[in-house]
Assembly symmetry: C2
Homo-oligomer: 392 residues x 2
């Protein structure tokens, strides 16, 4: 038996305990929770086969009562001696995508980001389109190309506009990131029956970090009139750890003022924002600190909107906030904003950058308030850019 | 033992034999092929457990060589007496969605449809946007709300623009269809490795009919700048039968002239169109006959484009052509085109219509050339509109 010692300033103390899918050396993937620098093997610890699978989906489908009961039991066990075979050092295990994602939706919920992109993409018109303050704008992304943190990203090729008017095909020259928060759906819903704002916690299990890699040159040429497609679908990275909503009670903050008042289906009595601080590191240098607390639309409003037309959700669905940018230049969650469309290079250590260069590493981390002045960590989402394949 | 008698003019003779997922009364779903008015239970007939599952995915993943071998064996067996327990009348069985869909992509490949919608949605500018003739425009739809033919469709609610400028929320008043062809991915690909135009038949298993129900008022308000979302995601109907590409050899036709010449990654030596004739019935009255042979972008070009950035595909992925409209008014595949934005009501039997009324039925059917002057059927995709739920 052994007791997991957790440093007082650990971001992964017993009030966090995020879920992930891990494999000990030479063994298969299964569900675990992180405690300090260790991973607890839940199937072995709790004897429940729902945790013996290589994704969280079966556990997610069990619903909030079961999530709460498991969390309470783990809080108890965290203070006790545990069988040595259920404890694995984080550094020794491989991590897989935590969920098998059914549908992936990406929103556009930061007013500062939407304003910045409006200025850059449509310089001659109002930056915010007329619908933006009335609904959380969103679109479907490609679920099959969501990859776990650490997976390298091959620079995508595609069509881009040229000065001649005819497009050319080649490696993206404006490869970017989008620092986002992702929301993992636990329990599904019935086709035809919307999920109300106040039902958020009955359906959403937890929060993860997302990097929605974006090829801005491909996106700019393709996106009219049906939205982003190949400029996004080559890869989206997801953190390996999913922090349950139950760990984020201390992070609840009021939403910023919404003006005009949203329509009734977007209003709820329990709606709130989340005080989560992100940091974007480029080749090891922090270049931005986006504040999630400034997001205009709440996670509950996004879910209510997503389902307002009767669309159903399934365990393992993922929806993301869209790029998180604050009002300050140092709070922008994408490089197209940080470099203002590539016109103002950024200092990255000893070098300068506008968009991503082959070999670059990007790591996004985040923390949130815990109890007694402590903080909890949302892990990280990282990726390195590999050079494009030779032309097909 | 019994021999399946197939009428000489049957659309489901031995040269067709589409695949579907069916359940005999009181039994579970499994894979079958249709022959005349009968369904053959493939797990029972061939003794292969790949067909005992409630979707085609495992069989799709086996690849073209196995698809060909099974088809050849079924062609032989179709002429022989079969054990009575493997044969079920089509009218006695229930049908399920034939595939578990990973990602669903919808294209916009008809030049007549794109031109009509450009005129209706953007009357003051060029109907075709600058990118349209250079790439097959597409976007991701919601895989989790694809339903099998026959599933009722609840009228969606959502936000729509009003004359005051502020939106209102309520049942869609411009509920429409889109008559499309869907392509079912068989074998997957590797992330980072594009699928070339000439690799189409190595990856795509077959063809089905799609009705991409569309709420035009919701869509018009929401779609800038990230494309269609809730105007589409409430339901997409898919035919129960998937016709293998191998049954469509006689339907191959040259593509219409593409001007300007597409970029090299969209050109192939074996690329072709498909001479498939659709018919759209509204409450039992044929209101349109869209010709698939007129589609500008080929199915192989759509797949090459979808993967050109390295996006991977999975068995069971679905991509659809977008609305099929021909150049004649009687060949338009959506009601917004047939009624010209609701301004020119259509005669439907004894009544007139612009958009869908509660209780309306829509059925889309299609046929293609077979050998010796025969035709093969692609089954049907049908749905009835149910009234909206009361406000949430």
């Amino acid at each position: 038996m052994l007791r997991v010692e957790v440093a007082p300033d650990s971001l992964f103390g017993p009030e966090n305990m995020p879920y992930g899918v891990f494999a000990p050396p030479g063994e298969s993937f299964r569900v675990g929770v992180r405690l300090g620098d260790m991973v607890l093997d839940l199937a072995a610890l709790l004897g429940d086969p729902v945790f013996a699978r290589p994704d969280l989906n079966a556990f997610l489908a069990t619903g909030p009562a079961r999530w709460g009961a498991v969390r309470a039991r783990l809080r108890e066990l965290a203070d006790t001696a545990l069988p040595v075979e259920v404890v694995h050092p984080v550094r020794s295990v491989r991590m897989a995508l935590p969920v098998t994602i059914g549908d992936y939706v990406d929103f556009y919920a930061s007013i500062d980001h939407a304003t910045n992109l409006g200025r850059l993409f449509r310089p001659d018109s109002e930056p915010l389109l007329p619908n933006w303050r009335h609904l959380p704008v969103g679109y479907h992304g490609r679920a099959g190309t969501v990859v776990v943190s650490g997976t390298p990203v091959i620079r995508p090729q595609g069509q881009r506009r040229t000065d001649s008017g005819a497009p050319e095909f080649g490696p993206s020259q404006r490869l970017d990131i989008e620092a986002e928060l992702g929301f993992v759906v636990g329990t599904g819903s019935t086709l035809g029956v919307p999920v109300g704002v106040d039902d958020f916690a009955a359906h959403v299990f937890g929060v993860a970090l997302v990097n929605d890699w974006s090829a801005r040159d491909i996106q700019a040429w393709e996106y009219q009139p049906l939205g982003p497609f190949l400029g996004k679908s080559f890869a989206t990275s997801l953190s390996a750890w999913v922090t349950p909503l139950a760990a984020l009670e201390q992070a609840r903050v009021p939403l910023p003022t919404q003006e005009p008042e949203p329509l009734p289906y977007l209003r709820g009595t329990a709606d709130h924002g989340l005080d989560i601080d992100l940091a974007v590191s480029w080749n090891g240098h922090v270049v931005s600190r986006p504040p999630y607390a400034r997001m205009y639309w709440s996670p509950a409003q996004m879910l209510a909107h997503l389902t307002a037309n009767g669309a159903s959700i399934r365990p393992g669905d993922l929806y993301a906030s869209g790029t998180i940018s604050g009002p300050e230049p140092t709070q922008r969650g994408s490089f197209i904003e940080l470099s203002w469309g590539g016109t103002e290079p950024i200092t990255v250590g000893e070098e300068t950058r506008t968009f991503l260069t082959d070999g670059d590493d990007v790591t996004i981390t985040a923390t949130a308030p815990g109890t007694a002045g402590r903080r909890i960590g949302l892990g990280e989402v990282s990726g390195r850019i590999l050079s494009a394949r030779s032309a097909p």
